[in-house]
Symmetry: C2
Subunit: 338 residues, 2 copies
């Protein structure tokens, strides 16, 4: 079982409009809702890959009730209705809801898709404030769940009320339980969290630059390792994934530039990395899977889904190239000499 | 008791943002929710004027539950929290919820207020589809409520599934029960509804032009009377209200142009007209009240509320002038001679 943590879950609402006109009244043609937040998206992709997962984090209010109801409806039996066009046999594993109830109300996010331009305008509500008692209840549940997990993923932003070192605390608890832990967040929660030595961090180019001060990806990923990440996999958009690990560095690139909706591509990459970790795949295979999943997510018509057929076609064609060999010791040497 | 009908109720959500940037991710700073739909807004103002009201229409799903909960929380005891700044004694009367449950989900409307420009971008979900059985259940309840009402107001758009002659049917039922009935809608439901001879219609300038084909207000209001409206009160924005009635025609104008949020100004005017009808005020007094309430709504900081102090100040200063005397018979004469 893989445990994914989404402290700031959301009810993701998509509005389709003929065209979004600011400062006017716009009729919404179609409304869709689904459970959202990065860890929940990761769990959905893990399920499609046949990996059982448990989602935790906070949930509350009517929007929280709607989220849980929709999550339950996404189970293996209900999957067919959501699957991208494919005749591939269903391999879905269960996603178990272990969300912790809170007094506050789960936030909504609204994606307004302009059908004329294809562009999306996103409106994100602030999350509910989490009380110290609710955080304590979460920690108790988290420790119990992490102890049973093959891997733990900590995903997304922190809601109001949660201390900025929260991810550092969750990394330490997972490590104390001897469980591999992945961190996918940004800003100060990432800076603090990486110092607690997670097994894997997956920043995008902006998050990596904010963390390290460098926009040179190879230098920045190696710097992020020195800050505490055992392995660092940076997502570089169309260029693919750049990994710096104890076993070496690789660049994994998709066979072609793909056009579509990038929403959820990063979460699919996380699911690819986590599944590869649990299956003990060598790094090049993990990276190829993550890149193919990510590109197949961009290509899928629905945001956050991935196109299974595209995934199967892309997987053998991802180019993984080892980067200039720089053994662990050498890369650390300059710092030790300062 | 005054009965207000809102077939297409809504959960009105307001998002405040520093600035709305299309095709980008926008953080919402503040979220507020309230029960919405024209008839519900009218009832809220009637309550503030001391008139007991009953709201009916359709409600369903989680958004419908939220609407009912918020409506219950708006009762006389809870009013203080919502009142605009004023030391005026509370005169609130109860608003009773007689909404009819449906299987569909009540729509949301989202008003995104850009705090930099003060402009509002409105996103309106389509309403739920109402089934024939639900419409039949509504009619049974409506007949019973209308029979006990001092006046009936039919307000706003029709949700999917409701036949375009629905308001005509509701007008006829109210008239059969001997109850005065006001109609405030637009397009085909207005054309059909006015032919059923409501006591009062309150179109705005656009709705009136669409109904009659004329943009000349005095001519258009009189034309609307010939189409079946016993009295017609047209809202002309900053110019005030133009009334054509069996007792004469009047223009009621606010003492100055007011700047602010016009949301709900038309609903406040309807509440002024309804309360004046039930109190049997002469037309000039009804119109003065409706104009003062409407202007005080534009001036209030919260959309759809009215500023009680501004209302008290404006009321004696509304200028009501009788329009060129044209007795009923003469105005109809040209048509009879054709």
């Amino acid at each position: 079982m893989i445990l994914t943590v989404t402290l700031n879950t959301a009810l993701d609402i998509t509005y389709r409009t003929a065209a979004l006109t600011p400062h006017a009244t716009n009729r919404v043609a179609e409304v869709t809702e689904r459970p959202g937040g990065k860890g929940i998206n990761v769990a959905r992709v893990l399920a499609a890959l046949g990996h059982e997962s448990v989602v935790t984090g906070f949930v509350g209010g009517r929007t929280g009730d709607a989220l849980r109801e929709l999550l339950a409806a996404e189970g293996p039996g209900a999957r067919a209705a959501h699957a991208a066009v494919s005749d591939a046999p269903a391999t879905d594993a269960p996603v178990t809801d272990a969300l912790v109830p809170i007094a506050g109300t789960t936030r909504r996010t609204i994606a307004v898709v302009d059908e004329t331009t294809g562009d999306t305008t996103q409106l994100n509500e602030p999350g509910p404030t989490v009380t110290p008692a609710e955080w304590a209840a979460f920690l108790t549940s988290y420790e119990e769940l992490a102890a049973r997990a093959d891997a733990v993923a900590l995903c997304g932003s922190l809601p109001p009320g949660i201390h900025v070192g929260a991810y550092a605390e969750l990394v330490r608890l997972a490590r104390a339980a001897g469980r591999p832990v992945l961190l996918d967040t940004s800003g100060e929660p990432l800076s603090r969290g990486i110092a607690a030595r997670p097994d894997l961090v997956k920043p995008n180019a902006d998050e990596l630059a904010q963390l390290t001060g460098s926009r040179e990806p190879l230098r920045a990923t190696r710097d992020a390792r020195r800050r505490g990440g055992r392995s660092v996999v940076a997502s570089l958009g169309a260029a693919g994934l750049l990994a710096a690990t104890p076993d070496g560095s690789w660049l994994a690139a998709p066979p072609m530039a793909v056009r579509g909706n990038p929403t959820g591509a990063g979460d699919s990459a996380v699911a690819g990395l986590l599944s590869g970790l649990v299956e003990r795949l060598p790094w090049p295979e993990r990276l190829a899977r993550a890149v193919a999943l990510s590109a197949a997510t961009v290509l899928a018509p629905a945001a956050g889904e991935f196109d299974r057929e595209a995934y199967a076609n892309l997987l053998p064609r991802v180019a993984v190239t080892e980067q200039s060999s720089q053994p662990e010791q050498e890369s650390h040497a300059p710092r030790q000499h300062r």
